[in-house]
């Protein structure tokens, strides 16, 4: 089953002579229950791609998205309520953003936004999400501390727990390991593999080997172009259609 289908996607910033094309001519399908990796050097349009999926462009000055993005066969742009769309899509940012509220409130925020007030329901939800994000044991005794005071690795797991509290069926991760130590990175990677049963994951990563470890299929973005999409193992060991892909995964640039 195709979860996300992207056709002729073109993303630009600014207008007129100062217009910058971030991404163009992207066509790809992401299947249900797969981890779809996106690799590529900085400024390749990876983050812009993620922002187009949950319609963040509408809250970003100057960002313009053309083409088609379908989630479960419906055009995301046709959703009358953009917020309902975003509630189904979890996002994890490169730098962990622990909101300046307690650990508990961070995770309870999403249910509360939907009107859940009952303490017992919230308690259960918080514990469940923190456990799945492999953070519960570390914070269960200090749920009242500020989320922004946790360590970088803990904050990043907190943001994953927060994303899980949305009960998303699509999870977007944007270079989540950039500010996280290797041990935590491994723990989060285990979490992701586990989450795959319940949701589809798009993993933008700066680490080629991370894509190799986790992704079922991987796309290579370069300077606003989707150069190649392949089964991950193919990309690393088999024939590639474009020599630039080989150069990048072998670490010759990037």
């Amino acid at each position: 089953m195709v979860k996300l289908s992207v056709r002729d996607l073109r993303i630009t910033y600014g207008e007129g002579p100062s217009e910058k094309v971030a991404l163009s001519g992207v066509n790809l399908d992401i299947h249900e229950h797969e981890i779809f990796g996106i690799i590529g050097p900085a400024n390749s349009g990876k983050t812009s791609f993620l922002r187009a999926i949950n319609r963040m462009d509408e809250f970003t000055l100057g960002m313009d998205v053309r083409g088609s993005v379908k989630l479960d066969g419906t055009e995301v742009r046709d959703w009358a309520n953009v917020y309902a769309l975003r509630r189904r899509i979890g996002v994890v940012f490169p730098l962990p953003v622990g909101l300046p509220m307690s650990v508990y409130d961070n995770v309870a925020l999403s249910p509360r936004l939907r009107g859940v007030r009952k303490r017992s329901v919230l308690d259960e939800k918080v514990e469940q999400c923190l456990t799945r994000a492999a953070l519960w044991d570390e914070v269960k005794d200090r749920l009242g501390t500020l989320g922004s005071l946790l360590s970088g690795g803990q904050q990043q797991r907190l943001t994953i727990a927060r994303a899980l509290s949305q009960e998303p069926d699509l999870l977007l991760l944007d270079e989540f390991s950039i500010a996280v130590d290797p041990v935590t990175t491994m723990r989060i990677e285990d979490v992701l593999v586990d989450l795959k049963q319940d949701m589809t994951i798009v993993l933008v990563t700066n680490l080629v080997q991370q894509a190799r470890r986790l992704a079922d299929r991987t796309a290579f973005f370069l300077m606003g172009e989707c150069v190649e999409i392949a089964e991950t193992e193919e990309l690393f060991t088999g024939e590639v259609k474009d020599p630039r892909t080989r150069d990048y995964v072998d670490g010759r640039f990037g």
Binding site: N54, M56, F59, L61, Y83, A84, L85, R86, R87, R88, I89, G90, V91, F93, L95, V97, L99, P100, M101, L109, S110, L113, L146, S148, T159, R162, A163, Q166
Partner: protein, 289 residues
């Protein structure tokens, strides 16, 4: 041999003179604050007593206290805040959270600069024309408070906008990406994290509002009215106008009386300012991010 050249010695001399000169200039600018405060305390200090603060003026305002003026100022400032704080916060929210980069936004910014620059007496004329006459409020606390609110609105807007913009963008983006609406994000993330900064601005506004005279002269403040106001439709005395009246309009006022009034006023205003400054410094020390 390799000592400083005549040129660099000369440069250093100039440097030192400039530094001392500018330091002196700065001292000349701030010295009046100290002097004024000193004289007011020496000449007005003996006036201050519980009786002065809590009794009515008597004998044609040449004796007695300032109680009705003090209470009147509290009424005026209170109602002015009631109008200006919600409007000011809304305006700041618009500029910080919504405003696109277009001509409307530029016009709003220009209007705020102008609102802050319009002479206080023109605000008084506006208050008289719009609130007293056109709206039919008459000379009343309501009309005077509205006039004060319009006049001090820019203070709230500017201070609030600054503290809203100090909340990092990532917090908003994280919240939006969870499906929170703009308003939910403002309510749950932006406002709670800027409320102390907003309060600082409000305190500053209180101090400005309490000192204004011209805007209330023709809209609701009375020269002499030894009763406490009972509703917003009443006129009232006010500290600022009282100082003007006892120092220029009333004959045979003992010299110390206006000094006493001025001292109470300036203490009121400076306390508010000190609160606001202290608050700001305290804030700087406990940012959550």
């Amino acid at each position: 041999m390799f000592g400083p050249t005549a040129r660099t010695v000369q440069d250093q001399l100039v440097e030192r003179r400039v530094r001392v000169g500018l330091g002196l200039v700065t001292a000349v600018l701030v010295l009046p604050v100290v002097l004024i405060l000193g004289v007011l305390v020496v000449k007005g200090g003996p006036m201050i007593s519980m009786e002065f603060l809590f009794s009515d003026p008597t004998n044609g305002m040449t004796e007695g206290g300032i109680f009705p003026a003090l209470i009147g100022t509290v009424w005026l400032v209170g109602f002015a805040l009631l109008f200006s704080v919600p409007v000011g916060i809304a305006a700041a929210l618009y500029l910080s959270e919504y405003a696109p980069d277009n001509w409307v936004t530029r016009a709003i910014n220009l209007a705020i600069i102008n609102l802050a620059g319009v002479p206080s007496i023109v605000h008084a004329l506006f208050g008289l024309g719009a609130f007293v006459l056109f709206a039919g409020f008459g000379t009343s606390i309501l009309a005077a408070s509205l006039t004060l609110a319009v006049m001090t609105l820019p203070v709230v807007i500017v201070a609030t906008r600054e503290s809203l913009q100090a909340v990092p963008m990532e917090f908003r983006e994280a919240c939006w990406s969870m499906g929170a609406t703009r308003w939910q994000t403002i309510w749950r993330i932006v406002l709670p994290n800027s409320i102390t900064g907003i309060l600082t601005g409000v305190i500053l506004e209180v101090s400005r509002t309490a000192g204004e005279t011209a805007p209330i002269m023709f809209t609701g403040a009375a020269f002499f009215l030894p009763f406490l106001p009972e509703s917003v439709w009443d006129q009232t005395m006010a500290m600022s106008l009282h100082l003007f009246v006892v120092s220029t309009q009333v004959p045979d006022v003992p010299e110390a009386l206006p000094y006493g009034v001025a001292l109470v006023m300036i203490l009121m205003v400076l306390t508010m300012n000190a609160l606001s400054i202290g608050f700001r410094m305290w804030l700087r020390g406990r940012r959550k991010w």
